[in-house]
């Protein structure tokens, strides 16, 4: 039970923040989501979004980066305290992804995680599963993204 004991179920934790630049928005979207309002400033101005905005997958991918960095920092802290950090494996997927508002160039998004459940799996006793609710909020306090996800954790 090295992984489960240090999880704080129900607590909403800030994992980090990230500022989106127009250049990064265009670079991501050119590769993966080349819709006019993600890659063309002029076209975006005439779209329902009113200005260039990030692909929802870009907003989500930045969460993952901050999550990885946050978990690494937490693991280092736990090791310093003489505790065993959780060992995470792959994720089976995501659900209830909601893009509430566009993320524009210059927006700073603060991301949060709440562990909603952690359980053992009788069929695979070596790896349990942790369920998370994750959120992103812009600098005005408006939610821009939320989703549920799960990750395997070494027991």
């Amino acid at each position: 039970m090295s992984g489960f004991e240090n999880l704080m179920i129900g607590e909403r934790l800030e994992i980090g923040r990230h500022s989106f630049t127009e250049e990064a928005i265009i670079a991501f979207a050119t590769k993966y989501d080349p819709q006019p309002f993600h890659v063309d400033t002029e076209a975006a101005r005439r779209s329902i979004y009113g200005a260039l905005c990030a692909s929802g997958w870009h907003t989500a991918a930045v969460w993952m980066r901050l999550n990885v960095d946050y978990q690494a920092a937490q693991a280092a802290r736990l090791r310093e305290e003489g505790k065993s950090p959780p060992v995470f494996g792959p994720s089976p997927g995501i659900s209830n992804v909601k893009w509430f508002k566009p993320v524009y160039g210059g927006d700073t998004i603060t991301y949060f995680n709440t562990v909603t459940a952690a359980r053992m799996r009788p069929s695979k006793p070596d790896w349990g599963i942790v369920e998370l609710h994750s959120e992103g909020v812009n600098q005005k306090g408006d939610p821009v993204i939320a989703f549920d996800n799960a990750v395997l954790i070494k027991t």
Partner: protein, 160 residues
């Protein structure tokens, strides 16, 4: 790429009839692209290092699940989104990562229209629900998902 929002598009709300299918891919996934994406967004060992991937439960250098989502989005874009009246998406019901996508895999699949309805709150705009299946070159299902997208109506002209 035509980014003029007033240009005529092949696919508008009325064209997304329930049951209609759109082919996705093929999209070859290289080791370089897996590492590039994961270095920026998901730098876990099994996504950025071949040996770490081989010794992990994924069995090889494996694409981040978020990378699979991004690739799938690109396949939607190339198949029907860019040449449509798409006005973005409010979210994704679910996305299941069923099998690892390893370096050298070639992805393909299809999007199927589940339902389409006009939005009462936004005249000229409608919501289209899709289900998607993505396979690798061995016809193994690697990812399933369902999502809703917003599309302009054929006769709405420019949507504001």
């Amino acid at each position: 790429m035509n980014t003029d929002p007033t240009a005529r598009r092949t696919y508008a709300l009325e064209d997304f009839t329930p049951g209609r299918q759109f082919q996705l891919g093929p999209y070859p996934v290289s080791a370089e692209e897996i590492i590039e994406f994961a270095s920026a967004f998901d730098p876990q060992p099994f996504h950025i290092d071949e040996d770490a991937g081989k010794s992990s439960v994924l069995g090889g250098l494996a694409a981040s699940g978020w990378h699979i989502c991004a690739i799938t989005m690109r396949m939607f874009a190339d198949s029907y989104i860019v040449d449509s009246t798409s006005q973005g998406a409010p979210g994704v019901d679910y996305c299941k990562w069923l099998r690892p996508v390893l370096a050298g895999d070639v992805l393909h699949g299809q999007s199927t229209v589940v339902s389409a309805r006009p939005l009462m709150s936004r005249p000229g705009l409608g919501a289209v629900k899709f289900s998607h299946e993505v396979f690798n070159q061995r016809r193994e299902l690697v990812c399933t998902s369902e999502n809703t997208g917003f599309f302009g109506s054929r006769n709405a002209g420019e949507v504001h």
